[in-house]
């Protein structure tokens, strides 16, 4: 029995959020969706304040409540490696998985694809210009609203014989961290057993692997740090999450250091109001008519 999971070493995490950026680029997630999320929190009263950083991807639970409540079986747990996935063609977008999941890792595609993709909320000259140049420079890109999507995301995965990896951008469907399933099923040994967030982390916080295998990276790291505090998020929830945190557990009194992330509406209107002088955006002497 394989169950993919992670060991996340909180003693090393500096809250740089490179993992969030890597996840976004790897998975081509829509605006406002942060499949990998890192909390920046603080605790205590000045001058005794402590900061903490807690990465929170999908925990790919062994008893996933999101899959329990899904009325169409669009959300399901894969048998062979325990990854919890979403079938975008079956998903009706009821958001019950988001309601049922206690970890807050589900993201609904609120807006149509064009607005939902970074840089394309506004259809003006600069955007068209960029489009044009991309088509000239990139043989694989034929136009459309996602010029910088990872082509590996087009592959389909079992057991649904459907594209299960990466953001779907279909309005009205749910998405969440897939443990980079497109990498796991790619057949490329260099990619299998890795995730984008793990790969990019500069301080080796994330260890991805089979939690049932004592020789796997996460299990080995947990074993090395066995004298440290090791805990799971919301362990009593009955979901049986598969992400093990190493390091101190945040108090119930922590405060988030920030407000909710910017609503895509704001980002889109910022794009609308940006300078329309293309020269302002070209830093390497690229050509623009």
């Amino acid at each position: 029995m394989t169950q993919m999971g992670m060991a996340i070493d909180l003693e090393r995490c500096q809250g740089c959020r490179a993992c969030m950026v890597a996840c976004k680029t790897e998975n081509d997630t829509p605006r406002g969706a942060f499949w990998m999320n890192v909390f920046r929190h603080e605790d205590g009263e000045f001058p005794d304040v402590e900061q903490g950083f807690t990465p929170n991807p999908c925990h790919h639970c062994s008893e996933p409540s999101c899959a329990e409540v899904c009325p169409t079986d669009a959300r399901f747990k894969r048998d062979d490696d325990g990854i919890v996935l979403t079938d975008y063609d079956t998903c009706i977008g009821c958001r019950y998985c988001e309601v049922g999941c206690p970890y807050g890792v589900n993201y609904f595609q609120w807006r149509e694809s064009e607005e939902g993709q970074y840089g394309f909320g506004v259809n003006d000259e600069l955007v068209e210009d960029t489009h044009q140049q991309l088509m000239e420079l990139d043989d694989d890109y034929e136009g459309g609203d996602r010029p910088w999507a990872n082509p590996e995301l087009d592959a389909t995965q079992e057991p649904r014989d459907n594209k299960l990896g990466g953001g779907d951008h279909k309005v009205g469907t749910m998405g969440k961290c897939t443990f980079c399933v497109h990498r796991q099923d790619s057949g490329d040994e260099a990619l299998e057993g890795t995730t984008a967030c793990e790969e990019v982390c500069p301080t080796n916080v994330i260890f991805f692997g089979d939690m049932e295998d004592p020789e796997s990276d996460p299990r080995q790291h947990i074993n090395e740090k066995r004298d440290k505090n090791n805990w799971k998020m919301l362990e009593g929830s009955g979901n049986e999450p598969n992400i093990v945190y190493l390091g101190d557990k945040p108090d119930d009194n922590v405060r988030s250091m920030e407000d909710e992330y910017k609503d895509p509406e704001e980002a889109i209107s910022a794009e609308e109001n940006r300078s329309h002088n293309p020269a302002a955006y070209l830093t390497d002497g690229g050509v623009s008519e």
């Binding site: 149509e112 694809s113 064009e114 309005v171 009205g172």
Partner: protein, 63 residues
């Protein structure tokens, strides 16, 4: 035997079983009227089910 199966087939549908039992075994026995009643109920049950396929037509608007 999941919670859902017991709940739906054991509890939730119990009123339906009761109705059908009352119809079939209760006096007066009138097969033709019973059949008409069952036909109506079947048609009415199928109605919403068929109707749930209608929104497929929304694809013309959904981007």
């Amino acid at each position: 035997m999941s919670l859902g199966l017991i709940l739906v087939f054991g509890v939730l549908l119990a009123p339906l079983y009761l109705v059908l039992a009352g119809w079939i075994f209760g006096e007066p026995k009138d097969t033709e009227t019973l059949a008409i009643g069952l036909a109506f109920m079947t048609a009415i049950i199928l109605g919403p089910i068929v109707f749930s396929f209608v929104p497929i037509s929304f694809r013309v608007i959904i981007p």
